[in-house]
């Protein structure tokens, strides 16, 4: 019965229009499970590798690993609004964040830093949170511009989230509307400083 089979095919196919009803569709909302046991990573103020290394190697290992992490911060390609243009500018030839070893990656799995560049609306917030959760540890967040920090000029509108820190933890706030590329660069340097200061403890 070929006709019947045709209808079956139609039924199996999930209608994209139905998937819209929720903010985040089912097909990108799978649970993320860490490979390591959950109690290893969020250790008590200590990075997990410290529990494996003998004491004498811990200090150099802290320094080396923190140095590696701060020297290759890969941000997530994630333009939200106007600030995204300045973010792109800072990756371009004039400002060239690649000098610091900062190259953008499109997949959250390979990213270390999330630059929230622009207004986060309430419709977008679940997606931002999901992207943050998809990033592997250790991970950092830079809130770029006034909109991401507290809503900026749009803070009094109904559908705008008043600051991305209501959804995900933020490490560095960059002021400005939009911040100049130099300001973003400064944020990266501040983040590098923070990583060096937090060495041995990262593994939140």
């Amino acid at each position: 019965m070929p006709e019947k089979k045709l209808i079956e095919v139609r039924e199996i196919r999930d209608d994209p229009r139905e998937a819209i009803s929720d903010v985040v569709p089912e097909d990108i909302r799978h649970e993320i499970k860490k490979l390591k046991p959950a109690e290893v990573w969020p250790s008590q103020g200590q990075a997990p590798y410290r529990q494996l290394l003998p004491g004498i190697f811990q200090v150099p290992a802290d320094w080396l690993i923190a140095w590696g992490r701060k020297s290759s911060l890969w941000p997530l390609t994630f333009g939200l609004a106007c600030c995204a243009i300045e973010m792109i500018s800072s990756f371009m030839a004039r400002h060239d964040l690649d000098r610091f070893g900062i190259v953008p990656w499109a997949s959250p799995r390979q990213a270390d830093v999330m630059i929230v560049s622009g207004t986060v609306t309430k419709k977008m917030a679940p997606a931002v949170k999901l992207l943050y959760e998809q990033m592997p540890y250790p991970k950092w967040v830079i809130s770029m511009g006034a909109c991401a920090t507290n809503g900026g000029p749009y803070t009094r509108y109904d559908r705008v989230l008043q600051g991305v820190d209501k959804v995900i933890p933020v490490d560095v706030y960059v002021p400005g509307c939009p911040p100049r590329p130099e300001a973003l660069m400064d944020a990266f340097l501040a983040l590098q400083k923070k990583i060096m200061e937090e060495r041995g403890k990262i593994g939140r």
């Binding site: 819209i20 009803s21 903010v23 309430k122 419709k123 507290n150 809503g151 803070t155 009094r156 509108y157 109904d158 559908r159 705008v160 008043q162 600051g163 820190d165």
Partner: protein, 179 residues
């Protein structure tokens, strides 16, 4: 090259452009009022006549409005208004058609079958002002989430309150942690 369109006048001296007359000619049986805005002629029609007016505006030889520029909703508190800005690539003239409806019965006929671009414009107006465009193929919200329950761009909807600053949050968290 071309000079400013002849119907253009300053806001101080509104002289009715020739388009108003064309509308009267083409739609003889329809009750309408014409006024001159700063650039275009604006025709106000009743909502029962809207579909006929739009159909004529698109298909009549003298009007030939083949392009719907913009569709805006306006909340006049006592009435809701939809303004259709039309343009004719063929004849190079433009006009606005206005239609009003009461806020508690915001039903209007759709024009998305005449101009496909009206599809999204009507969806947007419907979700932000609460219009119901009868005959629209898919009137679900476009810009906001579904099931919001209120219409943001209506004048009665207030702006959001500014939430507490993060500093306050941090202080509160510290106090909690300290206790």
């Amino acid at each position: 090259m071309a000079q400013e369109p002849s119907q253009e006048t300053t806001a101080t001296g509104p002289a009715l452009g020739p388009l108003a007359g064309l509308f009267q000619e083409a739609l003889s049986g329809v009750q309408m009022t014409a006024e001159q805005t700063a650039i275009d002629v604006a025709i106000t029609v009743r909502r029962e006549d809207l579909l006929q007016v739009m159909k004529t505006a698109k298909e009549d030889e003298r009007l030939a409005f083949d392009f719907l520029r913009c569709l805006s909703g306006v909340d006049h508190l006592d009435e809701l208004e939809v303004v259709y800005h039309l343009y004719s690539y063929k004849l190079g003239h433009s006009a606005a058609v206005k239609v009003r409806c009461p806020p508690d019965d915001p039903h209007l006929p759709t024009v998305s079958h005449l101009w496909q671009t009206a599809n999204w414009h009507e969806r947007e107006a419907a979700e932000l002002f609460g219009f119901i465009f009868d005959g629209h193929p898919d009137l679900r919200p476009l810009l906001t989430e579904e099931g919001l329950g209120y219409y943001i761009l209506r004048k009665t909807h207030p702006l959001a309150e500014i939430e507490e600053w993060q500093e306050d949050y941090l202080k509160a968290a510290e106090e909690k942690g300290g206790e």
